[in-house]
Amino acid sequence: MPTASMNSTRGGRGDALVAALLFCASGLCVLSVAAILAFLAWFCLPLLSWRELSAVLTWRWEPFGGHFGILPMVVGSLALALSALLLAWPLGLGLTLFIHGLGPRVLARPLLFVVRLMTGVPTVVYGLVAAIGLVPLVRGALSGSGFCWLTTALMLALLALPTIVLVLDGQLALVAPRLRLTAAALGLTRAQELLRLALPMSGRGLRTAATLGFARALGDTLLPLMLSGNAAQPPHSLLDSLRALTAHIALVVATDSQSAAYGSLFACGLLLFGVSFLVNLGLRRLSRGADVSALAWLPPGRLAERLAVAFSWFAALIVPAALALLLGFLLLRGGGTLGLTLFFGDTPPLDAMLRGAPVFDGLWPACLGSLWLVGLSACLAVPLGVAGGIHLSEAATGRAGRLAVFCVDLLAGVPSILMGLFGFALILLLRRGFWPGANTCLLLSALCLAMLVLPYVVGATRASLQALPEELRLTCAALGLPRWRAVFRVLLPSAGRGVLGGVVLAIGRAAEDTAVIMLTGVVAGAGNPGGLTDKFEALPFSIYYLAAEYQSPEELNQAFGAALVLLCLTALLSGAVRRLRQGLTRRWESGGARA
């Protein structure tokens, strides 16, 4: 670690203290990655003997018969992620090309808005709509029960699509302007310029988009859990039921903790961790790789160009249509339920809000639970994340710095179910060790959620600090400001909006995540949250629970109402992120730094 006081003239000891604190923050980020990995590895140790390992790497999952094979789930996960990518990547590419000039210019902005809107849709909302709307459709139109590979892959594609489009959009925005003159000189049309020049030069973006889309689809828990039917078998057709690794962990986690079944879960976890590790390494190599790509190869001739344009129109129509259908369905089913009864059931609202009267048959406890959860995890993640981000941007150099950055990126890619598994295993370990009273609870959920959203805050802080113009730093140095004073008085306030954007993003993520809390303390019925060590209700889990368990049409409507509430919440948050970021860019582009 570089010494912080080296180039400061005053306040040397204070600076050293600040530097040490910041170092600790980014150290904690590294530690949490290490802790997750260590946990997974530690619990996998019993599997390391050849006999155990050969039992886990088989095709049969029948715990009663002593078969703990996880290969069907490995195949299930890969099948789902690859097929979702196969759907989402071309569609995403078509959509991006449409936005960048294959389609009318007027439609570009609204389309990009739709894609941004999609990033804010909670997974559990997709799950609910698909379980109630899409599953019967697939069952009716094709065959099988509807809970199958196809349904899940369709929804996963929708989930991964915005990631893909946003990456490609960024890449094309970077490449296209540089090629404009060349294209004009060659007398190319807009379509030719995009397809023949810009696209082949965007190999890096194309590969990055595919990698990120794959990781997004592979890491999701809720959609496979709600839609894939969860049969522990490798699928033979698109209409077969299958089980993903993530869903498998969620289904089996609460099993006898000394059994081989429990041990095999950590093997699943380690596999998932391994994949996100590889994805991260891949992204790193990509960022250094060549731009020209065979991925964007298009046969010569006008026909191919026309087909490409037609496909991009198709993509530009079908994606917003899918989203409109989804939102329409949600509004139709949930719109009528919005009212006091949805929140309070048959309890007087005043009593519930002011005197804490218990509410049954209403969303109030879940709303309160979510609020507590998000608040707590923000309290944990934001200070740590900002400090870590500052350290990584301002002080971390050399190998240690690179390692820390890598760990933060890795943490960002770890599937959320692994955070849940980590929390659950941690509690069991603590209970056997020095804290017998430890239990799954609100605090544990918040802690695991904080780990999940920490990389968003770190990343946003680091990126916005590094995006500041160099003159600002030089000015500070010229004025003789000690290093950390410059950071806290000048640089951080100037980067404030970007940091805030990261914070809001983290809050949105914490509000919608279901996989983490499922394993760490959320329950179906608890009443208002009682304390940090109590179990609690939360909105996304209520939606998940009601989607599978509704006992009456009213309960199902309640699920739709809850989904609408959650959707509004996350849409508001992601809107806020966007406003903040726009503000930041405008400020620096216009050179209006007054900080």
Binding site: A232, A254, T255, V523, A524, A548
Partner: protein
């Protein structure tokens, strides 16, 4: 947080619009008077409606008592109560000797319940033999036509391995025979009922207490699967529903168990379609 403020404003606006009276207190709840504490419950999903109703009544009358209810299945109930993560772990089957020995669990039965095959209400099939059920779940009978129904593929649904309902069904009805690996897996009795109610070609199995008009229970070997037939022993696929604690139940947990096993708990149990055990 902007959205929170909007949300709060929305709620406080809504708050002005309505006022209802307090619910009346029930009598059997007297044992909880002046007491406080929390009771975490997890496990068996057949139990959930009864637990929820009891929790609702108790928490209404005595807000100082907090009761949380989670599902997961009997296996989860055993694990969680055994590890001390919850106070009461519910099971829809008797504990095994190994489980009792390992965790020192104590069982408190409160209801008799059958496990029945369920179909979609529009399914014309209304009688099955246990051999037919075995063949269906083994994946040997795959079309409803083979059973006198429509020409449609059978969609079997099963439960995860933590389920006590699955264990009872598998041991008594399937005689530990094969269970089709391609069957959809659902996580609770409630979810099973919901899934079958939505799938015209589905077949699954649930606690008889959960059967309502959204699903249909065909007769098994000529016997209608009702709780009455389960009680007399005419219907063979039965089990008891248990609450389990680690060691003897103490404090409010003991009160809760007493309440469930007492007359008011028995009334709740009966109203949810189970036969209360009389001690």
């Amino acid at each position: 947080m902007k959205s929170t403020r909007v949300f709060a404003t929305m709620l406080s606006l809504a708050l002005l619009l309505s006022l209802w009276g307090l619910p009346a207190k029930a009598d059997g709840l007297a044992i909880f008077a002046g007491k406080s504490g929390k009771i975490d419950i997890a496990g068996g999903t057949a139990h959930i409606p009864v637990m929820q109703e009891a929790a609702k009544r108790i928490m209404r009358a005595h807000p100082a008592i907090r009761i949380t209810i989670a599902g997961g299945g009997s296996g989860v109930g055993v694990q969680k109560v055994g590890e001390g993560l919850v106070a009461i772990g519910n099971t829809g089957r008797a504990l095994t000797a190994a489980e009792v020995a390992k965790y020192g669990l104590k069982s408190y039965p409160f209801a008799i319940d059958g496990v029945a095959v369920v179909l979609h209400p529009n399914n014309p099939v209304s009688a099955l033999t246990h051999q037919q059920v075995q063949e269906i779940f083994a994946g040997r009978i795959t079309n409803w036509k083979q059973l006198g129904g429509r020409d449609a593929a059978i969609h079997p649904y099963t439960r995860d391995e933590a389920s006590g309902t699955r264990e009872v069904f598998w041991e008594i009805l399937l005689k530990k025979g094969p269970l089709a690996r391609g069957a959809n897996v659902v996580a609770s009795n409630g979810a099973m009922k919901t899934a079958i109610a939505g799938d015209p070609s589905g077949i699954g199995y649930v606690s008889i207490g959960h059967i309502d008009r959204t699903v249909k229970a065909p007769s098994l070997d000529g016997v209608h699967p009702s709780q009455e037939n389960a009680e007399t022993g005419k219907y063979p696929v039965i089990r008891k529903l248990y609450m389990n604690t680690k060691g003897d139940a103490k404090g409010v947990v003991a009160d809760f168990i007493r309440y469930i096993q007492g007359p008011e708990g028995a009334a709740i149990t009966a109203s949810h379609g189970f036969i209360p055990t009389t001690r």
